[in-house]
Structure formats: structure tokens, C-alpha cells
Subunit: 244 residues, 2 copies
């Protein structure tokens, strides 16, 4: 199997590591073009599962070392999945909206939290980091196989597609505290760039929210802020009997 | 200024990047042994502040390129702080307790959230990643300059020092939901290793809590779980007038 270092223009990306590859084989096998195992891979159970799924789904399976030298610097990566890149299409419902996110690892961590809290649709407003980057897929621990991600050129384009969504931009000077804001479904939880946050114009979009913190720090890390918002917005779904 | 690649045995560690160094100069100048600026550093405001503080605190300041080649792979690092490593001592009050954490970046992100939510004392139960690692300090965005971190050889040693703390181990099978648990101060929010979580024996410690998520994922990322717990445990401190 010929592989080359990932580039944004490529038609495929890579899932690195057994856990990540297994998520794709279990949730989105049609996206898996090939699986490569390292000759030193010794997890008999996982090997058996990989053989079973690749065989039943007619996915190419090979055992070779060279692709690992090209694609992975991590010592503990023994399985690579070659993954077709397919444009996502957002469904109606609640969304996370990322405006100009710039860090691939952060993107993956946010995807993991979205899947964890059951918000399976993510809008990305460009310019933005490439969400197909293998670093994103790895940081998502494979949750990237489960979510729908659609990119939009402008926030307006996104907002006009989903006129029924309640919009909640998260801003350091948002006018209400997260814990005191009623979040109505379907919701759009909107977050800005890691370094610059959302442009001030977002204060006129829906209900701006702030997650209050001490002035010991300038801001929370982006995936942390997004995950706290996801937790607070979805916790009533999880068997909670206390009202919000 | 002679620097060498960081090792755990060293008496000093490094703050990489202007933001991180400024945090140390502002909050813990006594810990700063020296500041090194890159010849290409051009932020006049920051340079003026660095000159002012290093001069008034009699901290060595130099302009040279070589230390950057040794210590930093990041293109955007133009200032290095040489930081004395001093053992922390936990104060009475609420704490975050990390049992066998293994990732330096995660540790830094947790430190940033602790400072953000005003929980300034962190216990680490060894074996654990070195919390003085420059990767930790950088991921904390300099918040490492503000918190107290003390390491303990066993959880029992920690617990016996703080008999008045209410203990809340976070476990995937914790018996109560976070949003339905009354968290009494002073609290100890206890988290396990990234890959393995807390040992099952912690189910007998205090009130085990779970952060409910869908089975789309195996678990939340450790800094995410810790930060959600911090948010929920401290939100009543932040002007919220809704009762929990």
C-alpha cells in the first residue's frame, strides 16, 4: 500500500492507532479504503476483529512497516486506516459552530466531546484548520467517524440555512452567565478562534453567553469552553431530575 | 546564558513564549532566574515590560538566538524564561487531585482551568508525569506560575493530611451524576490516569461521581472532565443567583 505524508489536497486521510481505526471500521466502514498493520502488532483480539471486518466489507488489509515510518512518529501506533474524505452535510437539530478554528488537536478534542454529549453536527466557518488532518482524527479518538462536519464560507450562510436554531455565541463579555441562561433546542453553540475569540459583531447574534472565570487567566482553552457549554446544554437529556 | 534540553533532574525548567514568561514575571518573579529574548523579537511593548521587571527585580536578561534552537521547536517562541523549580505545599481548602496523570500537555491544560475557576491547589499522586516539564508550563499558558502543586506518594498520604475535605472521585461508574450531586467545600475533585481512570478501590472514597455521556465515546478527555467538574463545583461562587 503506497502512502504519502498527508496533504490537505489529498483525497484520503489517515486514522492512526488501533482505537481510532476500530472506530472507523465499526461506525463508518464504507469510508475505510485500506487497513495497514505493523509487523510488530501483537493484540490478537484486535487483529481478529480487523480481519473479520475487512474481510466481510472487502477492505484491503496489509501487513508492512514502511507506511508507519512515513505517517507516524508515535511509538505506540501499530495500525493505520486509509480513510476516504467525504464532505459532510449538516442535519437539522442542535449544532456546535466553530468560527475560524486554527488548531488540529483542539478540533479533534471538540469532536470527541460533541460525540460524547450527543451533538453530532458541527459547522466550521472558514478560514479554518483542515478538519481531515490526521492530528484531528487522532485527537478525536476516532469520534470523527461518527459526526457530521460541514464547512461554510460565512457565518451568515450557516445561519440562513438554520433559521429555527437558537444562537448562543460564547464571548468573554457575553451578557449572561452560562449557568443562568436557558438554552433552547435546537441550539447553535458558537465559538471563535483560539487566539482572538469571536468578532465583536457576534454580540448581536442571538444570546451571547460567557463562562465566568477568575482573572487569573485570559480565557479558557477552546475545547474546554466548548465542552463545558455542551455539558450544560445537554445535561437535562441525561436522566437528570433536578430542573436546570 | 547556557541552557540545555530540559531533564527531570534539572534544578530549573523553562517558560517558552512571551505570554508564559510574562505570567511568571508578573506573578512569581522570584522564581525567574533569567530571561532570554530572541534577536528577532519585535514587540516593543512587551520588550519594555520585560526590561522594566527584570531590571527592578535584578533578573538576568540577555538577547541571543542559540537557546531557542536548543529549547524550542515552535516558530512563534521569542522569549524564554529560566524558572527555578520549587516544591509546592498544598494549602487547606478545595483541591484537584490527579492520580497518576501521564501527559504533560493535559497537566498544563488542567492547571489553566484550575486557575480559571479559582482552585489554586493541585495534588499529584505519583507515579506521574513531571509537572515542571516545559510542555506542561506552556500548555498552562503560564498559569503554572500561580498554582500550588504538591506531589504525594500515595492517595492515603494526601487524604490523611486533609481529613476535612469532602472527597469526590470521578469514575465512569460513579454512583451519582455530577449535576445531581451537592459538592461541599472544601472539596477534593479526584481524577485518574488518562488511559485507565481511577482504580476501582476509589468507589469507597467519599462520593463517586460520573459525568454522563453517550456511548459514542469511551470516556471524555481528562482535562475536559476535570474542567467540567471544576465549572460545576465552583459556579455558585460566580454571582449565579439560581440555586444549584
Amino acid at each position: 500500500m503506497k502512502v504519502s505524508r498527508y496533504k490537505k489536497e489529498d483525497a484520503v486521510t489517515y486514522a492512526l492507532g488501533a482505537t481510532v481505526v476500530m472506530e472507523y471500521l465499526n461506525c463508518a466502514p464504507d469510508l475505510v479504503e485500506a487497513v495497514i498493520m505493523h509487523p510488530g502488532f501483537r493484540s490478537e483480539d484486535t487483529i481478529a476483529k480487523i480481519k473479520e471486518i475487512t474481510s466481510s466489507k472487502k477492505i484491503s488489509l496489509s501487513v508492512e512497516e514502511k507506511p508507519f515510518n512515513i505517517l507516524s512518529q508515535k511509538e505506540n501506533c501499530f495500525v493505520i486506516g486509509v480513510i476516504k474524505k467525504v464532505k459532510g452535510h449538516l442535519l437539522d437539530g442542535s449544532h456546535v459552530v466553530l468560527v475560524n478554528p486554527s488548531n488540529a488537536g483542539n478540533m479533534g478534542t471538540i469532536i470527541r466531546s460533541c460525540a460524547g454529549f450527543g451533538v453530532m453536527d458541527i459547522a466550521i466557518i472558514t478560514p479554518a484548520v483542515d478538519h481531515f488532518d490526521p492530528k484531528t482524527i487522532r485527537a478525536s479518538m476516532g469520534a470523527a467517524a461518527r459526526v457530521n462536519i460541514e464547512t461554510f464560507e460565512t457565518f451568515e450562510e450557516y445561519a440562513s440555512r438554520f433559521p429555527n436554531n437558537s444562537m448562543y455565541p460564547f464571548m468573554l463579555d457575553g451578557s449572561t452567565l452560562l449557568q443562568e441562561t436557558e438554552i433552547n433546542e435546537p441550539f447553535s453553540l458558537i465559538f471563535g478562534n483560539e487566539a482572538t475569540g469571536l468578532p465583536a459583531t457576534f454580540s448581536k447574534v442571538g444570546q451571547p453567553i460567557r463562562i465566568e472565570h477568575t482573572n487569573n487567566i485570559d480565557s479558557l482553552n477552546l475545547p474546554i469552553a466548548a465542552s463545558i457549554a455542551l455539558y450544560e446544554s445537554t445535561k437535562r437529556r441525561f436522566g437528570g431530575h433536578l430542573s436546570k
